[in-house]
Every structure is written in C-alpha cells, then in structure tokens.
Subunit: 451 residues, 2 copies
Amino acid sequence: MTKAYITAHQDRYLHELFELLRIPSVSADSRHKTDVRQAAEYVRDRILEAGADRVELVETNGHPIVFGEKVVDPKLPTVLVYGHYDVQPPDPLELWNTPPFEPTVREGKIYARGACDDKGQFYMHIKAFEILMKHNALSCNVKFMIEGEEEVGSDNLPLFVKNYRDQLLTDVILISDTSLISLDQPSITVGLRGLSYLEVEVTSANRDLHSGVYGGAVANPINVLSQMIASLHDSNGKVNIPGFYDQVVELSQAEREALNRAPFDSTEYKRELGIAELTGEAGYTTLERTGIRPTLDCNGIWGGYTGEGAKTVLPSKASAKISMRLVPNQRPAEITELFTKHFLSIAPPTVKVKVTPHHGGEAAVTATTSRGYRAAEAAFKEVWGKTPIPTRDGGSIPIVALFKKELEVDTVLMGFGLDTDALHSPNEHYGIQNFLLGIETITAFYKHFSK
Amino acid sequence: MTKAYITAHQDRYLHELFELLRIPSVSADSRHKTDVRQAAEYVRDRILEAGADRVELVETNGHPIVFGEKVVDPKLPTVLVYGHYDVQPPDPLELWNTPPFEPTVREGKIYARGACDDKGQFYMHIKAFEILMKHNALSCNVKFMIEGEEEVGSDNLPLFVKNYRDQLLTDVILISDTSLISLDQPSITVGLRGLSYLEVEVTSANRDLHSGVYGGAVANPINVLSQMIASLHDSNGKVNIPGFYDQVVELSQAEREALNRAPFDSTEYKRELGIAELTGEAGYTTLERTGIRPTLDCNGIWGGYTGEGAKTVLPSKASAKISMRLVPNQRPAEITELFTKHFLSIAPPTVKVKVTPHHGGEAAVTATTSRGYRAAEAAFKEVWGKTPIPTRDGGSIPIVALFKKELEVDTVLMGFGLDTDALHSPNEHYGIQNFLLGIETITAFYKHFSK
C-alpha cells in the first residue's frame, strides 16, 4: 500500500523538497538570516499541511526552532522527530557543477546543498507522517522539532529543551541525519562522535610587513602557525595534547571485532576518494579511526596574500579553524580547555596567540536493545529485506547526548544517506531512491513501534 | 636655488604624484591590466612634459616599459634612471584607514599604495630632471626606464634589456626604491637580497569531505602542509633544505663589524612593530638576518573554510605562497630547483603536491668606490649635511644584477623611503619631506656626477 502511494505522489514530494532546497538557509552566515527564517516558515507550513494539530516557530537567540505535534491519543506512545533545516555554507562555490541552491537531478540523485544533510532526510518524516494521516493509520503521537542551528553547534537548543521539557516528553527520538552502509546493506547508527571546534589566531607584528625588509628577523605568523599545527600530532598520528586521551573509552577486543565486521573495501574507498594511501592513528583500522577514535583536523587556514600572482608580504596574522572529533566520555568543554591551554603554551614568545572556542557537542552511543531500535530494525527488514547492521559514525549530532541527559530518552539514528553523498562539500547530493525508501521505512517504523 | 624652486612648486609636484597614485596599477592582478597601461601613459606624458626628447611605451609580453631620453650632448656622461610604476596588491583592504588609491595626507605623510614603492620615489627623478631642464642646468644625458612588472618579477625585462642594449648604454644606473636609515641619518644601499618565489599546493581527496565521516582516516591537506612548512626551518632558525647554504658567501668578521656599526635600537624596533621578541637564524644580529643572510617566509596560506562561523570540512586542497630571500652567489633558479625537489621529497604518500615557481631575482652588491656612488655621497653631504652610511637591504630588486651582467654598469641605490613606510602593507605611506629632500638630492647628484 505504502509503496504504491509513494510512487503515485513522488513528483509532488520532490517538488516540495526542491522548494525547500532553493532556500539558502546557511546558518553560519549572518547574511542569510532571513533565508534561514524563510526555510523555518516553509517547514512549519508543510508540517501543518501534512496534518499536525499545531506548529509554531519558537524564537531563540539565534534561528527559530520549528516545533509541532499531532496528538492521536495521549495514551498512545509518542515519537519525537528531530531534524535541522539549516545547511552548511556552499563554499567553495566554483567546485559545484550546478548551483548549490538550484536542485538538479542527475543519474537519480538530487544535487543541492542540504539535499542529504538534512533537508532531504528530515523531509521524509513529514511525508511519512502525511501518508499515515491520509490513510488514518497513525498509531502514535508525533512531535516535530526541526531546528536551524545544527550546523553551527545548536547553541540555543539546550535552553529550548529545558523550557519545553514537558512538551517534548516522548518515548523515542527519531533522527535521519546519518548514513547507510550502502543501498545493498542497510545499517543503523549507534554511535556518534562529539565535537570541539575552535578558531586560532597568531599575530606577529602590528601590521603586514615587507618580507625583504623584515624577513628573517620578525616572526612569520604563517610559519609559526604551521609549526604549532604540525606539533599537534605525533609521529604515530596521535593527537599530541596532554590529557587528550585520558577519558577515552577503549573498546574491548570483541567490540572492535564486531565493528570491523562491517563491509569495508579499502581499495574502493581509496579509489572513490582519489587517494593513494590512507592515514591515521597507528594501531587502528579505518572504521575505528573514523568511528571510535578521537581526531584533530584543521577545517580552514588563512593568512597573508592569497590572490593571483606574488606578493612579498610578511603578514601580521595567520588563522586556522581547528576541530576535534570526540568519543564517549571526552567532554567537549574539557577538551576545548585542554586544547586552549596547550596551544597557548606552545606559542613562541615572538607572537601573540588567541584561541576562540566555536562550539562543541558530546559524543553519544545509543542502545541496540531499546523499543525504538527494535522497531527500526523491523522496519528495515520489512522494506529492505535485510537486517540492518549497527554502525559507529564519525560525525557529530550533539543533541543526541543532550536528549539522553535532559529527556532521559533514547534516540534511534535511522539515516538514509550514503558516505559518498558529499555532505559539507561541493556537489552534495541525495539519491531519489534513498529518499523514497526512507519514506517507506519510516512509515513502517511507526507501525512496528506502536505494536 | 633648488630648494626655493622646489618649495615654490611642491603643490604641483604633489598634485601630479597624486594623479599617478590614483591609478590602481596592480601588476599581479589581470583585472587591472588597463589601469597598469594608464599609469604607463601617465608616466610617459610627464617625462615628455619635463623635457625629454622622446618617450615611448615599449610593448612586452606583459605590461609596457616606459623608455625615454634626453640627449644633451653625446660626449657627456649618461645617467639611466630605473623605477617601476606598478604596485603591490592593496589587500587586505579592510586594514587601510583611507582607500589605497585615494592618496591622503596625514601628519606630513602621503598614504596610498605605491606612495613610496615606487611611484613616489621614481617620480622624484622626473621632477629633478624637470628642474634641471628649466634651469638649463642639465650637464648629463638622461635616460628613463620605468617598468610595470617589478612587483611580479620583471619577467619581460631581460628581453627588453637585450633588445635595447645599445639604447640603454649609460655610465650609471640610478634607482630610488630603497630606504634610508632615518631622516637624521642618510644611507645608500649597497646590497640587495635576491628572491625565489613559489606556490605550493597539497591535495588529498578529490573533493572536500565531511570531517566527521572521513576525519582520522584521510590525510588533511592543511595539517600536512603545516607539517611540511614547519619542517622547512630547523631549531636554529636555519632553512632546512639540503644545499640551501652551499653557495652563500660568508662575510668576514671585519665586514660584519662594519655592517653592525649602523645605528640599530632593538627596543625601539620591537616597540614600533608591537612585538615582544625578535627571531631568526642563530648566531646573527638583526641587521645581518635582514641584510646578508638568506631566509624563507610564507607570504600566504589558504585552504578549507575561511568564512564566518564553523564548517566541519576536511578540505581537498591547501596552498601556500613561499618565498626565499637570497644572498650573493645563491642563484634563484638553482634555489627554486632545490626547494622544489626537497618539497616534493618530503610529501607523504597520502597527498599529491604541486610546486609552481612564480619568479626569482639575483642578489646584488654594488660598489662604494664607483663614480656614481661618490656622486651620491656628495649629493647627500650637500643636502643633508651628513655622510651617508652604506647599508645592506633585505629587499630585492632583481634588475640590479641583470644590469650589472648585461650592461656592465654599476647601480647606485639612492632610496629615500623609510623601513616604517609600510611597503607592501596596508597604509603604505611616504613622507612629503622625504619626497622633497629626495628631489633636491637627486638634482645635486647630477651636478656632482658630471663634475
């Protein structure tokens, strides 16, 4: 029944999603403030249209949260759907084959910023809800909480969760913002890494200098920043910050073996990325390095002259954005402090260093024994004909830990993207098949969850 | 006589210079191609007006060279004036207190890109020539060769010098593109460093990646580039490239002592730059580090997300502009090759590295015993009341070595800027007093040179 209905309506679903993808709701960029609000309003209207009792835009100190609900019967179980309507900046623009905010279909995939992360994914929930409403088949209460600041650290979410605690009461939180192993092998994410994100600035002289006149006598902030960044890893690929690994939970041999049972073809992985060699912390596999081990990456660096041609400048400043992916028990605030203290301590006396924390988020591990997990498992089996494998993802959705702590409820990470969907990158895309199968699987989830 | 005449005409001189400074003749930026030509035409017209017999724009593969001459009598000695009408890019624009191409006078200084380097400096020569013509006092032949590619490596100058060899015959080359020790202590530059300028690019994956999904397993090009840059200096501040110092001429103890006799106040130097500590190659003084020792500086670095806020991207590429200042006997081509070979050799197998040479230039040492030097010395004594000190400058004017080699003639580097003039930096400026004293000193030079 569901599949046929979805097929009959898929053009409209895609049309609606495309409308949403056309709104450049880049939360990191203040120039897009009104676009972000417009996306929130669009989401609100679609949830209302799908059959919610009420939907509101809850104002925050940043971008609004779309909160809506449909109460079928207070005695029935409740599902809270979380998602985010904000997107990553589209830079570098010149690498997109088609404009990031003009969704384009090529080879069965929707190309647009946010196609997968997370507009395409949370929108499946609105459509699954609509289908259940249309067929009078909704056997749970449903709440929607779609925020606009996930890509900038969900700074205003904790206060909202605190203030709306009573209205957020639920039996499970359902999130589609992660990846499947492949279309042949469904999976459910049971672990997410946390995040600590900082910006550092190294200042030498009080102005840009002529590199001929001062070069060799005055510290070059780019050279100094490079030395400082280089020192943040040791020769084994370990993060070289005192105390960084102190709280890291080491997995048992059995857990590591289970994790490494997931299909992984390193030749294909390298080929698809166009690289000759993998890298990482010595003693761990790629799946472990991206799933259960903490990391440190520079996300951006800039300083001096970056235009065409040559400029012989000894710049005044150089800066970098640096983030660390964290694993369970590593507290972002503590890691941010360890980083800051260490980074300031390694600064040579020739420069001034400023460290500005951006945002952080706790790592999370979700149960595979919960009612929600079992319902998701059953839904995948029904629609995909295969039992999903539990996997650990390297990404971060900081609110999973927050929900666990504040609402004392488990999250089910039922994502339908693929790691190759170019999230946060140029040419982000989302398979139409993933989108349609996702709607079908989510619809099945409700059936199994309310059993 | 000259001083009074200059005072009477200084408003017009400044007005003319300001017109030239308003033309954004940024040679590095192809968007400014027509501006560069406009500057060349302006210079041509002013030299003609001042009394030259003929002035032409000589076309090259890049920007044109302004070449003009005034033959008083073929039997008289000839002075060839070299300068450049192109300027450095004005970036970063936001740090300018007033627009770079809208010259503004504050506290006796002209603020504009090119005010000192080199429009303000070569323009003094046109005005000195005009004064001598007006007073029928020119006792030499004069040639002007004002090029438009000094800031991008003078790539097309060697061919021009070769083709125009006969027309360039001269007894001395006079250049004002360097600095004085101070307005209280005149100096003449007798040494210039050479330059090798390159751009490097480190590529990891074939696209930007999500740092959560791939971080820890795929090489981060910013981290790798930082490590590579960091390794280019050893712990003594020496450039860590095999063979780099092989050709460096070590100065004798006596030469070093003479060099260090120049007034230098490190407390004031640091205060003026706003830095707590100096840096550099162990075993050398600041004057030696900036004058007689080769150096390596990053002039720019970029990669990943550099916008507002946070983006958790594992970028595909990171790049840097790196230049080395060279000393006599270090050949730019050889150093460029040593750098390239070394930089490729230290690249880990996880990334691809590309090295693109930008431009280079030979170091130069000029004689203090030549007729030209003695005339310059006498001119300074007459106008400033003090004997100028010979100094070694850290900057590069590659054509000095070229002229010596091709034309077999000595250059006199009679500069009137100050190291604090913010060359290549925001808020570049040039003292009006320097400009006017410069015109007077150059006028005196002709008198002494033709004696």
